[in-house]
């Protein structure tokens, strides 16, 4: 399987791995986002995918039993190449995806739409809508909602990182105030 890779992919992966978000515990706020995706768009599967060096790992997922897949079958490889939504309305007839293992076998993806999110300029992954049936392309309202949800994820990742750094700094100050 081939997929597009940006020239700064190694740097991007370093950034992702330094965030401490890969393999982290389930988080209600991210779970809310995938539930919203499922409810709003009526798709069977919604994910918040992070594109790691050899895999895509789902920070949150609904409608699938797995928490990761190999990177080479990830539709998100295409999504993180751009700033806009990447959409495939029928994967079975798409030249890049017709023989993808996730299309020819379970979960038998036919429809995919992903909106990328970034941290410090690097695309970490995407909020994804996935369905085993072909669908019409998102209308303008749908596109705005999906992009809005990806922006919320982007902000949440940034805020959580700041909070964890603040926690470390706070304990340092607490310790110093004890020594004064």
């Amino acid at each position: 399987m081939t997929f597009p890779v940006a020239i700064d992919d190694a740097e991007r992966i370093n950034k992702l791995q330094s965030l401490g978000i890969l393999d982290s515990s389930p988080d209600q706020n991210f779970d809310r986002i995938v539930h919203l995706c499922q409810d709003i768009f009526g798709v069977e599967i919604a994910t918040i995918s992070l594109v790691d060096s050899e895999r895509q790992w789902f920070k949150s997922v609904i409608g699938l039993e797995v928490c990761e897949t190999d990177r080479d079958v990830a539709f998100c490889n295409y999504t993180i190449m751009g700033d806009d939504i990447f959409e495939v309305t029928d994967a079975a007839t798409h030249p890049d995806f017709a023989d993808n293992a996730l299309v020819t076998g379970p979960p038998n993806i036919r429809y995919y739409a992903g909106a990328p999110f970034a941290f410090e300029g690097f695309k970490l992954g995407a909020v994804c809508l996935i369905d085993p049936h072909p669908r019409d392309a998102l209308d303008e309202r749908g596109r705005a909602i999906l992009k809005g949800l990806a922006a919320v994820v982007e902000r949440e990742i940034r805020v959580q990182r700041m909070l964890r750094e603040s926690l470390a700094m706070l304990t340092t100050v607490l310790k110093e105030s004890d020594e004064r």
């Binding site: 791995q17 330094s18 401490g20 890969l22 393999d23 982290s24 515990s25 988080d27 209600q28 959580q160 909070l163 964890r164 750094e165 603040s166 926690l167 470390a168 700094m169 706070l170 304990t171 340092t172 100050v173 607490l174 310790k175 105030s177 004890d178």
Partner: protein
């Protein structure tokens, strides 16, 4: 019953110190504290042990935890030396041992020693979670270089070192910081245990801020596991 373990010439005795839970008087949760007979500094004793001794101690602790869960319905926290999980092979072995353990336990790793690099550690902590156990960062607030393992590592529970609550009642600035600490842990979804609570005034103050799980002489002293199992009950919350 194996409430003690012979390692070389040293006999290890284990004690259980129950936590105080503000939200549940009936749930029994606490820490196994293991003392090497004749050693005043347990930490330096455990640091010099070989890996195979460490594994033997882990398996013993898990057996004791199983007995405690069975007869006392208690959840047990176990201290694990960070060196035990330094290498991939040892982490595999650790998880195999853990997956054969019926009792749900909390595994405490200390901030005093480094953990493996973040990616391997977080994958390891995820597997612990998926087996139904909890991981905890022990001695939080005492780490070196002013940084905390909590910035990068995804522990479920944070054990707040007694040094962070020292002089709390005399120092308004410190009180505001403790309030912020609670809020940060809460919003990041971390459970906590505040260690070293010895005065009711400090306890009341922390409860007011929202803290709900405590360890300290004010509530429970460490009790020999053998005696607890013989009695068939753990001392009630005072």
């Amino acid at each position: 019953m194996e409430s003690w373990l012979q390692v070389g010439k040293v006999r290890l005795e284990t004690y259980f110190q129950r936590y105080r839970l503000e939200f549940d008087d009936d749930l029994v949760w606490g820490e196994l504290l293991t003392k090497p007979e004749g050693h005043d500094a347990p930490e330096s004793y455990f640091t010099q042990l070989s890996l195979s001794d460490q594994f033997e101690i882990l398996e013993w602790h898990l057996r004791v935890s199983g007995r405690m869960a069975e007869s006392l319905k208690s959840t047990v926290s176990i201290n694990v030396h960070n060196s035990l999980v330094e290498h991939e092979d040892d982490r595999r072995r650790f998880l195999e041992i853990l997956s054969a353990t019926p009792a749900k336990v909390m595994l405490e790793f200390t901030e005093h020693y480094p953990m493996p690099e973040m990616e391997s550690s977080n994958a390891f902590l995820r597997e612990i979670r998926e087996l139904g156990h909890l991981s905890a960062l022990d001695d939080f607030g005492t780490g070196h270089n002013g940084m905390s393992l909590l910035t990068d590592y995804d522990f479920d529970v944070v054990k707040i070192d007694r040094s962070l609550t020292a002089n709390l009642l005399k120092n308004p600035e410190r009180q505001r910081m403790m309030k912020l600490l609670f809020q940060l842990l809460d919003v990041l979804g971390k459970q906590h245990v505040v260690e070293g609570i010895e005065s009711e005034a400090v306890h009341e103050f922390l409860v007011e801020l929202g803290f709900n799980t405590f360890q300290g002489f004010l509530f429970h002293r460490p009790e020999p596991v053998e005696a607890l199992l013989a009695a068939g009950s753990v001392g009630a919350t005072q």
